[in-house]
Amino acid sequence: MASFKPTKIQVYPKLGEKVTQDTLYWKNYKAPVQIKEFGAVTSIDFSPVTPHNFAVTAFTRIHIYGPFSQEPVKSFTRFKDTAYCGRFRSDGQLLVAGCEDSVVRLFDVSGKVALRLFKGHTKAVHLTDFTSDRYQILTGSDDYTCRLWDIPNATELTTYREHTDYIRCGVTSKLNRDLFITGSYDHTVKLFDARVEKSVITMDHGQPVESVLLYPSEGLLVSAGGRHVKVWDLLKGGQPLVSLKNHHKTVTSLALSSNGQRLLSASLDRHVKVYSTTNYKVVHNFDYAASILSLALAPDDESIVVGMTNSILSIKHRKNQEDSKEIAGQQRRRPSYRVFVKGKNYVPKQDDYLVSKPVKEHLAKYDKQLRRFNVSKALDTALETWIRFRKPEITMAVIKELDRRGTLKNALAGRDERGLSQLLNFLIGNFVDARFTPVLVTAAEMILDIYQSIIGQSPLVDRQLLRLQDLVEKELDYQKELLEVLGMLDTMFASSLPRKEVPSPTVDHFPTCSLNTDS
């Protein structure tokens, strides 16, 4: 006597992204903490010293947040106008920020009032940074100049007037106190050496440059502007290495993951993309609610902080090992593992006589019903809310099995309003899924055949039937359009291919995902 063979749940190819190490790594963040700021968040900077507070520049304020606080631990509010580019010094003691009113302010992180005011620019200052010797400040302004300032005296050291448009970004070298790079809206990125009067290298980005980033080795420079992210080799005199065009709106911010293996770019198209720095392929992608203006990663990727135009600051913290363990602990309220394996891992000794006991097979609920030929009940169990929403392939498998047994009609018939609406709900939810359509079409036809007499009796069912009709019509139109596109593509391919004696074959890698055109 053969045992009952359980219904086979078909494994459908996952249409989404492939699960890679990167996916796992970048998905291992908690749900974001969202903080409402006073205006668009233009800049985020992490303090280089522990506890790695970060300064968030938004509107006329700079807030400093602790690594886990949701309230600012400190705020600088003494700006007359919109503040820009709050940056920490490498010792984390000082903070510099530019302002719309062209004054650059230097703050002590523990104080409240500005220590120094650097006046000299004539327009808004969007770029401020400390040089690596900690005694100078680099600023760049909308008056097309960038300047170096001496901190102790608050005096201007040098002025560079090479750019021909707003200077909106820049970075100082961490290794050399004299080198700094600025990016401007005149499409160029310039490398300056404070020891000489002029720029050393000029790179043409092609679009207004929004952000520049130096690799930790400082051999490579990344610039972002327009939809492009470009990587330049500084050691080869500013030779372009790669040009990445993965965003469909302006890229506003760049960041490197702490080990330098991954590059992150944030854009106005609401995405943050993660590139591998070895092959510059996108390995992961984050979605956000609004256009992103600023992006920063905590050291060791402990958190990802993103500032958006809708003045929301989103902070994602990495899940700790302890946290994940805690969650696992919560789930384990069932009998302990010991109970399940009790006696099962016993290895018989040499002299033992083994009495084998037939292993009791466990069937799923729907299989138990199917074994007893209770077709309606089997469908009921397969339509349970959890299965219906989380595992539609199980419901599909049961419907398919019932169809194979020729008893789908019996199973579908004789339902009350609630049962029918549940069924229709499932249909509406999964009807246009190409993987499920072939089976659901037969089921839908049967449902219409069975229940056509009760149309008009229940407003709920009527509404759902109308929705279903709508859905089918829409899908038909969609498929028609797709076929048209396919035709166009075919003609294009045919004309672009060289004429050969042998008709060139088309490669189809996904036979199971073929388009379905029937209603």
Binding site: Q10, T20, Q21, R404, P505, P511
Partner: protein
């Protein structure tokens, strides 16, 4: 053409087991069933075929135990004879010629006569003459009933043979022998609920006046009081949803067994019909049910050529499975390169592996892996194509299900051979690999077998190449699936024509795909079309030559041409092109270079060498009916035949399947003689079931025989003398209940038996003495208390319960004579 007298067509097993209901002997140890032209005797415990009772020249249509002697059995056949056999020894005792083909026959203990169902729908009583002759002719025939259903289940004897019940169509006829009177009961054609009342089978209660009839609509009616024309009553039992195919009462009449298409055996309690026992999922529709005379075993035969032996506690104890022959062989006959078994589709959704050498089903591979619903008119998944790769490591199967309204459901499955379990394990399932039916599949046969490639052609106009892809990820991806799976590598088409067949060359460097009338040759390395041949009528079969003929590509066309293209000249040179009448199939030998060709209408077979236009061998009218499938099977050992005509049979054997699903083969005379000789040598002592213990004991018996033969010279001739060791003494003299566990003793005991060679030589002389001493020991022991030897003897006898009295006496005598056998036995 030359007639080859020495090559003959013979049946080679795989015959039907479920043609008539099997018979279980009185001691429930043997099961007899009609199988083709022979009666097979199976052991109920080991499922082995013990011997075949051969002698009939026509299909055996019935097997019955002789009511007066339960060690003898009658068999009837279409050749018009009834034969009496001694089934324990397989000896034909008597042949009784009746003269008419017998379709079924019955016997009852109360009657001298046996009843045969012969021509013209008549039931005839035959008196078998009581003469001692081997061959007698039965003259006394008397018609009993006319208008009888040819189905053997439609007639049954009533209580003690007092009456006979026969059903036909809508009529139940009961004939009382004493009164010489028959009563007829009619049912209406249709009752109100729309059921069919047609009778299908009948069974009579052995102790009670009750007739059970099965009906087309699944009802079972129990008729009582039927010795009155008017006052008969019946009650109805209903569980089956389609026709009841078999009914049977247990010998005491306490239970009624019924079965049908649902493949569920139901045990109804007589007079408490609401209580039922079920034995579901027996595998295939039940065709016959029989019960052993002592009621301890039930036996059901199934439509898939299977006999299931069921204990009366409704538990399956044994399954005798023959070659499953469905309605059609959708997959061609194939050879498993690894086990050299014949592979074809058998049970629905299964692929069967059948050993031709042993005439035994090895196993069924479940391809569809779905619960089979036993219901007529239901479209099920069927295995339609299968292909092995050259090493037998991969198996590709295609299953399809075609419903009228819905789309075609296709699954391509790839199975990898698992060394550990010695069976195929599912590796990849590709649902909907093509849009239409798959017409052919072929694996690439490469010597290095590094990259495995499968090509499938389909009616949707494409052929696809599937490649075994290593897990397609570098260090970035997770090794979630570390076993390789199959992916589509290439999709090819040719002017929208439908590809019919495909074939890889022997070295795997070329792929030929026939698109109707165009044969395209591709190179699998680059997937470029290298060249193509054009032959006006469409190609129905393709294959490359092997070994020395590998430059030839052969094809048969729809207009009865066998074409052969030479690939070296690379042109459409159809060098040997033979005009033949309607080629049906042709099959290529995998080992040597021969091609056989079957012509359906001529019923002929031709064997060619691809390089020569003249056939090597031809034979007309090989069998009655068309040849549907054929396969070359490699031989286990090569034949040494020097004759040119039969040389093609040297290394392989050609098996073919006729329309009647008979498996046939060609043999040479020499081979047949050899086989016959070997079968004579192999006379199995089958009084005992073939258990391991029996083997042990059987050896001992042979030894014992030798001892007795040698008698006085026994001692001199003995080479292996019983070892007198402490362990033996311990084993034999210590009471059983104080002995340590057997497994503990055993290792010690075996170790004590292991002696070094030198030791054995030197100890030879004293062994004699010691064994004598032991002899005395045991003698004494026996005199004091006979308990131990008897215990051992009981143990030996327990497995052989049916020792005759003579044997028992012999055994006792032997026991008195010689007790060293025990040690000898242990020694062996």
């Amino acid at each position: 053409m030359v007639e080859h007298g020495d090559i003959r067509v013979v049946h080679c097993g795989g015959s039907k087991l479920n043609f008539r209901d099997p018979v279980i002997t009185h001691d429930s140890r043997f099961l007899l069933c009609a199988s083709g032209e022979a009666v097979k005797v199976f052991s109920t415990s080991t499922e082995e075929c013990i011997h075949e009772l051969r002698g009939h020249t026509g299909l055996v249509t019935g097997v019955l135990l002789r009511p007066s002697n339960h060690l003898q059995v009658y068999s009837s056949s279409l050749d018009g004879t009834v034969r009496l056999w001694d089934f324990t020894d397989g000896i034909l005792i008597k042949t009784c010629v009746i003269g008419y083909p017998i379709y079924s026959f019955y016997a009852s203990a109360k009657h001298e006569n046996i009843f045969v169902f012969a021509e013209r729908f008549q039931l005839v009583a035959v008196h078998l003459p009581q003469s001692g002759d081997q061959l007698v002719e039965a003259r006394e025939l008397s018609a009993v009933l006319s208008g009888v259903n040819p189905n053997p289940a439609a007639i049954a004897f009533g209580r003690g043979g007092e009456f006979i019940a026969s059903v036909n169509d809508l009529q139940l006829e009961v004939y009382f022998f004493k009164k010489q009177k028959s009563y007829r009961f009619f049912l209406k054609e249709d009752n109100k609920k729309g059921g069919w009342n047609t009778f299908t089978c009948v069974a009579c209660h052995p102790k009670d006046d009750c007739i059970a009839t099965g009906h087309e609509d699944g009802k079972i009616r129990l008729w009582r009081n039927f010795n009155h024309k008017k006052e008969y009553t019946y009650s109805t039992l209903h569980w089956h949803h389609s026709a009841v195919s078999s009914l049977c009462f247990t010998p005491e009449g306490t239970n009624l067994l019924s079965g049908g298409v649902e493949s569920v055996l139901i045990q109804w309690r007589y007079k408490q019909e609401s209580e039922r026992d079920f034995l579901p999922r027996l595998g295939a529709a039940i065709t016959h049910i029989t019960v052993s005379p002592d009621g301890s075993l039930f036996c059901t035969s199934h439509s898939d050529n299977k006999i299931t032996i069921i204990q009366s506690c409704v538990k399956v104890s044994a399954v005798i499975q023959g070659l499953v022959k469905g309605d059609s062989i959708r997959t061609d006959l194939m050879m498993d390169p690894r086990s050299k078994a014949l592979v074809l589709n058998g049970k629905p959704g299964h692929l069967q592996f059948y050993s031709l050498q042993r005439d035994k089903l090895l196993y069924n591979l479940d391809i569809v892996q779905q619960e089979y619903i036993h219901e007529s008119g239901l479209q099920q998944f069927e295995v339609v194509k299968a292909a092995f790769d050259a090493s037998g490591l991969w198996l590709a199967t295609v299953e399809e299900r075609h419903q009228k309204a819905a789309e075609l459901e296709l699954n391509l499955k790839l199975w990898a051979f698992d060394e550990q379990t010695q069976s195929f394990v599912l590796n990849t399932t590709i649902s909907a690999p093509h849009d239409a039916q798959i017409t052919a599949m072929s694996f690439r046969q490469t010597a290095d077998s590094q990259t495995t490639l499968l090509v499938s052609t389909s009616k949707d106009g494409h052929f696809k190449a599937w490649q075994l892809a290593a897990p397609a990820h570098t260090e970035d991806y997770i090794q979630s699936v570390n076993c390789p799976s199959w992916l589509c590598d290439f999709v090819g088409a040719y002017h929208g024509l439908v590809p019919e067949c495909c074939s890889f060359s022997a070295d795997g460097s070329l792929l030929a795909v026939a698109f109707q009338e165009v044969v395209t040759v591709w190179s699998p390395a680059t997937w470029e079309l290298t060249f193509f041949f054009f032959s006006p009528p469409s190609i129905s079969d393709l294959c490359f030559g092997r070994l020395s003929c590998s430059k030839y590509l052969l094809g048969t066309t729809a207009s009865n041409l066998l074409c052969c293209w030479n690939l070296l000249t690379c042109s459409c040179k159809t060098s040997p092109c033979i005009k033949v009448l309607s080629t049906q199939n042709f099959f290529c030998d995998s080992l040597n270079r021969f091609i056989s060709l079957f012509l359906s209408f001529l019923l002929s077979v031709f064997v060619f060498k691809p390089s020569e236009p003249r056939p090597l061998f031809s034979r007309k009218a090989v069998c009655s009916g068309k040849v549907t499938q054929a396969v070359f099977a490699p031989r286990e050992e090569m034949l040494e035949s020097c004759e040119e005509s039969s040389q093609w049979l040297n290394r392989s054997q050609l098996y073919f399947l006729t329309q009647q699903m008979d498996l046939m083969t060609f043999t040479t005379k020499a081979e047949e003689d050899r086989l016959l000789a070997s079968s004579k040598q192999l006379v199995i002592d089958d009084s005992v079931a073939m258990t391991p213990f029996y083997l042990l004991l059987g050896k001992h018996r042979q030894q014992q025989q030798e001892h007795r033969d040698s008698d006085s010279s026994l001692w001199a001739e003995r080479t292996a003398l019983p070892q007198t060791s402490a362990s033996i003494k311990e084993l034999l003299q210590t009471p059983a209940h104080v002995l340590p566990s057997t497994s503990y003793l055993c290792s010690m005991f075996v170790q004590s038996l292991l002696i070094s060679v030198s030791d054995a030589r030197s100890a030879h002389a004293e062994e004699e003495m010691e064994s004598e001493k032991e002899e005395e020991d045991s003698e004494e022991e026996m005199e004091s208390s006979r308990s131990k030897p008897e215990l051992v003897a009981a143990a030996t006898e327990s497995d052989a319960p049916a020792l005759t009295k003579a044997q028992a006496r012999e055994l006792r005598r032997v026991r008195k004579l010689d007790h060293s056998w025990l040690a000898g036995l242990l020694d062996s």
